[in-house]
Symmetry: C2
Subunit: 200 residues, 2 copies
């Protein structure tokens, strides 16, 4: 029994991040997409994921679909719940980054304070990427018909219409997704990742 | 603009799990360790992680250290908070499994209902592994001195002393970590993973 206990103390430590990075050929980190509904976050997230995956990157997208129905299914849309929603996403993203994965988070995340909290959860591994298409363009696109509903008053506290969006002040990358084509935005995202995440 | 919107709809889908598995050479899934404090969960989790990593598996440990201080830092030790603690861990583990990773969860998780909920979060990818060392053995080991404190009444609701542990009824694997050496337990865990997670 004594020998076993000795073993227990000796072996309890994690794999170093640098060792993980060497193995996978790239760093882990958080690509935190932020921008209005319709600014291209989800489209770009999934297409970036696909392209990185094809280049053998370890990559995963967190979005409303896999977070709101599971981890955050207990949260509604009150101010406190929205804040907690983003807090948890930031913490989960930090765990993925720690595991050596490039995690792409695709949420409006309209408040600076919440995004800063997410940054603090993943020190040195957080990359804030602002999809800066303006309201007029996003509302004209309205891919899910949400702006129309918000204008009719069917959605309360809708970012850009009846709730504020606080633009990032010093994001790592800004993509004017109102002016750039999807292909151009993807090119810049790929360049950014190749430049910032490669370890070789 | 119309063309961009068309693109948006076309490209929004995830990478299939099977495609991820082919790429990494193994399935993703949850190895849910459960057992009393001192039953060997953390020791075995980190040593299993190391051995799988050395065989090029994508593997990550969730434990109190990386979950309680981040994602679940808002939770205390009330019955509701303990339940929510395990619920969130189950959901995060499911996200990791979906990302193609073998995630090892090392928490006492004493209640059947909570573990069953975690199982439901990762359908077909959940492996409940019972570290079945009994109370006498765990208390004699007492690697962190917690049983001593609990016996002195310094820790309330301590599993095995002043709160129940509900053994799994149909776990995928039972390791009698009271009788087996660490090396023997690790051998069985490695066999289990090689048998259940390889895709080639």
């Amino acid at each position: 029994m004594t020998v076993k206990s000795t073993n227990i103390t000796r072996t309890e430590h994690r794999i170093d991040r640098e060792v993980r990075w060497r193995e996978s050929g790239h760093r882990g980190g958080v690509l935190w997409f932020t921008g209005l509904s319709g600014s291209g976050k989800t489209t770009l997230a999934f297409e970036l994921e696909r392209r990185l995956f094809e280049k053998n990157y370890r990559v995963y997208v967190l979005d409303g679909d896999n977070v709101r129905h599971g981890l955050n299914s207990d949260l509604g849309f009150s101010p406190q719940d929205r804040e907690e929603n983003i807090r948890r996403i930031g913490e989960v993203a930090a765990l993925f980054a720690d595991a050596g994965i490039i995690v792409i988070s695709a949420f409006i995340s309209p408040y600076r304070r919440d995004r800063d909290q997410a940054r603090q959860a993943a020190p040195g591994m957080f990359h804030e990427i602002h999809m800066s298409a303006n309201l007029d363009i996003c509302e004209a696109r309205d891919p899910k018909g949400l702006y129309k509903k918000a204008r009719h008053g069917d959605i309360a506290d809708f970012t850009g219409i009846s709730a504020p969006y606080e633009s990032p002040e010093t994001p790592e990358l800004v993509l004017d997704t109102g002016g750039l084509t999807i292909e151009e935005s993807l090119g810049r995202l790929m360049d950014y990742v190749l430049h910032n995440f490669r370890t070789d």
